[in-house]
């Protein structure tokens, strides 16, 4: 195959943080991540922009629960809810 096939996730819990994505590459930028007990994913709204999604900033520092798809190291969220 190529890249990881999308994996559906439901009620995934994690803390939202800011960080740098793709250091040194053509697409390095500050991104929003979700840190779960098992992994760290770049958090994106499925219908939101890849870069600079201001909608996500309100989740930074919070514990969230979300549904969506994990594609490689990115979580494409369809639903995000603050739980803390």
């Amino acid at each position: 195959m190529s890249s990881t096939p999308p994996q559906r996730v439901t009620a995934l819990h994690g803390r939202v943080i800011r960080g740098v994505y793709g250091k040194g590459s053509k697409s390095e930028r500050e991104a929003v991540f979700i840190e779960t007990p098992d992994a760290r994913y770049v958090l994106r709204r499925k219908t939101g922009p890849v870069f600079g999604d201001t909608e996500l900033t309100r989740y930074v520092g919070h514990e969230i629960e979300c549904d969506g798809f994990v594609v490689g190291t990115t979580l494409l969220a369809e639903r995000i809810e603050v739980v803390e």
Partner: protein, 512 residues
Amino acid sequence: MDDKIIVTNRSALVRKYGSKGLATIRKALTALTAADKKRGMKSRVVYLDDKASMKKMGGTAVMNATDPRESKAAIDAVFKSINPDYLMILGAPDVVPHQDLDNPAYSPPDDDDDRAWGDLPYACDALYSRDPARFVGPTRVVGRLPDLVGAAEPSYLVALLKTAAGYRSRSQDDYTGYFGLSAAVWRGSTRLSLNNIFGNAAKLLLAPPSGSNYPGGQLRVRAHFINCHGGPASPEFQGQQGRTYPTSLTTNATVGEIVEGTVAAVECCYGAELYDAITLAIDPPICQSYLQQGAYGYLGSTTIAYGPADDNGAADLICQYFLLNVLDGASIGRAALLARQQFVENTAQMDPFDLKTLAQFCLLGDPSVHPVAQPSATGVPKGVATADAERFFRAERRAKLKLAGTFLTKTKPTASKRAPKGRLSPTTKIALSNIAKLAGLGANQRYTAFAVKGAPVVAKGRAAKTATAPSRYYITIGTPAGETTEKVQRGVAMVAKELDGRIVGYRIYHQR
């Protein structure tokens, strides 16, 4: 004798489209092979999972359609048996998989691509391996005509086959009015690229302010060069100015705007990633929109791409070479092979970022398509069939490409394997620290050492000459200090060459 082989996986196609869908695809394939025949080219479809066909070719049928090793072995058998001038992979990676090369620059979370997916190994004689250093000498003309990952009806693929069957070559003038799009912060590099390809950068569009729509019809020209940001599983590219990343192009904005015969070279990260838009219920990749609308070829990256700050390197170069070869009259498949060879040839040693670049760039499109018709300096006398003459000239070109690829395999030093760093000598430590300072990085960066393989042995004694390759590479990826006033921190990847315990050279790849 077959000039062009189309490889695919019947059971994978049936799983996606059913036998009725497969019949529709076969009809379109028949039309393509008939069109090829009219052009004097004999084409044949080979199902990699067909036991009888594969046995005839001395190979083994693919049992698991998603296994890169099996598909690589089967395609190698096709080349050994038939040695076609063109190999077209029919289908997305859920029909014939990309190869799963290791990404030597893998350094999570900074570069989190554990694999540099692509079709490079299919273009090489070397046996299956995950080590990209094994594939620095490509010799085969290969391209992929992809369907949509996860699709259940074949109209997309049928449309692409129809484009390939009905293609026509045009004059070079039809490709000189270009669409050149760059993130505003990378204007210097893109201007250089456009000048190298087209002889001018007058039509360079910067994002912002350009994008995401082009109502002035700027997309409706046939040569495209794009140097923007991109992301995984995304139908958008982004520009950049300071800390803003406005959308520069979307799948949606390309609909109805890409003209038949377009050829695109796209540097963006993930610019040719064939993600599963159907399961995700999002727009398909921009690359697949191009092909759907009649683009003949698209060269792009499956993963995160690299390039230097104010110059051309890595992704810039492989994209430039591709378009230059297309403009020179090569088929898109030969243009891609030449671009790979030229990229390796013009790189003194393949460091981890060069290896990733080579591995990740893929050609989408029928490799036998010649977008530009260039008059040949060699005439064909009366009485010689044009097809026979063309077959002879093609054989000559392939022999030359084979020699070039074999030479590169034998001679190109590579650095894909991490080496134990050991204790750094004080001289090396100081040099690395000084270069890190130049790059804006702290003195305490962590470095990964890579051993250089394949460097010529230097004679000792009176006849000794200077070594032509370093003994080790050190790489590090970091974020410069002092840029924290910006919301977006700009990182750099630094590569330093060590020779006999001394740092003798370095390169710095900036975020662009």
